[in-house]
Subunit: 155 residues, 2 copies
DNA sequence: GAATCACTGGGCAACTTGTACAGTGCTGGT
DNA sequence: ACCAGCACTGTACAAGTTGCCCAGTGATTC
């Protein structure tokens, strides 16, 4: 899938995203063209989706994160519900899932009270029958992919 | 918190991350120094955490995502458990939560069978008493912050 | 043996960055 | 009414980076 050089390249860019291709080639001890080619291929293959800005919702004022499990009405299916959830800015992520619930959403709010408002918006979505919410109190491991990249690197 | 120009800047960088400061200033119709100052301040304040490469676990071979709710032994607290979970590469995110469970993890695997292996690793973590897993079947709304940025922008 | 592929190392023009500085217009304080 | 502070503009310059191209090398495949 990816090799050791790819993994080191991704690790480097992850640690210092603004360093650029030339600096990467210096640090990795390979030719600039090689880094350029690797990067291009990683992006082409979709391994690297992009280099978008990572926004911290907390710093935007949305200090509370919660996970909401939804049960939805069978008729109509998931898609219309997902579309309506997508219209709520505070809904940050939606999955359809196995198990007791039908969908799992990650949402944020400006506080517990504001979270209630967001949950009410979700409850009001047509097709949503029941919700159950857990609030994230702390995040000992924030989202990461680097260990995965290292694990996936086969020389 | 942030204003309209900040939001448009973030939106622009999100859509085309590689365009650079100069191109941003052209598209936003402001001076380059302004864009540079805004970007610096957004990063300084932590609103923008960085511009790291977004890696797609699926393209690395980890095609299955799941959410695992953990119940842990009270004695010892969350931290040692979190530390041991962090040592598992396939554990991509860990939260402590309210409600029935104590922790919520996002994990990935190379397939359903591989997921079982990861879950077994988690179950074996000292302090973990019970787990319950839901598999993500589809992701109609992938993680996003842009709508939040737009909602937070106050002119 | 020939073809293919990834990598090296070099060169070149065009562009971008970091930085600086003077000028302008708005805001809040006194 | 005046001033200081602040953000933005527009400009300038040197240094660095990018995108692109090319010839040569070594490993792998057919």
């Amino acid at each position: 899938m990816i090799d050791d050089l790819d993994a080191r390249l991704i690790g480097l860019l992850d640690a210092e995203p603004r360093i650029g291709v030339l600096e990467c080639s210096r640090r990795l001890g390979v030719a600039r063209g090689t880094v350029q080619a690797r990067l291009d291929r990683l992006q082409e293959r979709g391994v690297i989706r992009g280099f978008g800005p990572e926004v911290d919702p907390a710093k935007l004022g949305y200090q509370v994160t919660a996970f909401v499990t939804l049960e939805i009405r069978q008729a109509g299916g998931h898609d219309p519900v997902a579309a309506r959830l997508a219209a709520i800015p505070e809904v940050i992520e939606v999955h359809t899932i196995t198990g007791g619930g039908d969908m799992l959403c990650r949402i944020v709010g400006r506080g517990n009270q504001d979270l209630q408002r967001v949950i009410d918006l979700i409850v009001d979505v047509e097709g949503v029958q029941r919700t159950s919410t857990v609030i994230a109190l702390a995040t000992p491991v924030p989202q990461r992919t680097l260990p995965l990249v290292r694990a996936a690197a086969r020389p």
